[in-house]
Symmetry: C2
Subunit: 166 residues, 2 copies
DNA sequence: TAGCTGACTTAATCTACCTTAAGTCAGCGT
DNA sequence: ACGCTGACTTAAGGTAGATTAAGTCAGCTA
């Protein structure tokens, strides 16, 4: 078994989809297209036309996605003005948006490993030390662990029913 | 700026969506529903009915998702037989499927932080030391770093054009 | 003040994936 | 051999999000 479910299996009902944090994250991300747009943002894209150019999305779709991502607080519109041009807006990651990078980079690494023969077209580098960066599972004791060593346990502080711990 | 794009910006075209590993991963994941199903698998679910019960998906949709996930190699059908029952199949994560855990858990942690008031209903624990586990960006020098310290660089070994490295 | 341009919006249409409601089918127990 | 049951499949219909093709609109340039 890959990850063990520790704790009250009965409690399982208390964290079905409605309560699953990842499910909520997925609601926010909404559609795969939103992740495509975020990818662009992670790569540093901020201009509308660049978003359109770098993704397979059409203008109307992109406008919609960007608006949605701004609405949920992953991007912000920031005004800018180029010489001789009128004021326009760029789209920048908010801190919550930036925090999705870990998940995104994990996805990317997975894609590199399983869909790209040569390891993929981009690398992640630690700005401060230059070493390569990877998303990993890390425990508070400082261990880096493989997925197989993770146990999924019910959170200890559920208001109601936590009597039958092991 | 959140993450800097180092290397040839011109090379940017060489790793647009078609080549982006994460985009490929997204293709495989396909629909948000697939991630829901995988979530269940990560939590330890293996039986068809359990998948149906624990997610908002209907039977036909679940059958379709499971088949697709088996087809792309994230799950395998393994036969089993309960006493007095005919042979049926469970759905187990394959190693590639298991490797998606890092991405999934990162999504979950993000959801915990931004959508769950109390930190979410489940915790991750290191089987061997009991400490809490978090998805993190880790560099090969052993640093755990925030997303802001990551630089996205073009991969060094693209067959063709890599002259202008820094 | 008229025109240009980038950033959208609107409209019509298509498709993918969902739903519910019925089948279908394999094979164990009787 | 017959029926039951869990695991699907089929069918009909809905909705969300995509596409292309045209607008619209703000505001700097001329």
């Amino acid at each position: 078994m890959t990850s063990s479910l520790i704790g009250l299996l009965a409690d399982r009902d208390s964290w079905r989809s409605e309560r699953c944090s990842a499910a909520r994250a997925l609601e926010v991300l909404g559609t795969p297209a939103n992740l495509l747009v975020l990818r662009e943002a992670f790569y540093g894209t901020t201009y509308f036309q660049d978003f359109v150019r770098e993704t397979p999305l059409s203008e109307p779709a992109m406008a919609k996605r960007l608006r949605e991502l701004v609405d949920v607080g992953l991007l912000t519109r920031v005004p800018y003005q180029e010489a001789g041009q009128r004021t326009r807006h760029r789209y920048e990651l908010t801190p919550p948006g930036e925090e999705l990078m870990v998940a995104f980079f994990a996805l990317m690494e997975w894609g590199d490993r399983h869909a790209a023969p040569d390891g993929g077209p981009v690398r992640l580098r630690h700005r401060d030390c230059g070493a390569q960066v990877h998303p990993r599972l890390s425990c508070t004791e400082g261990h880096i662990l493989p997925p197989g060593e993770v146990e999924v346990v019910a959170a200890p502080t559920l208001l109601s029913t936590v009597a039958a711990d092991d």
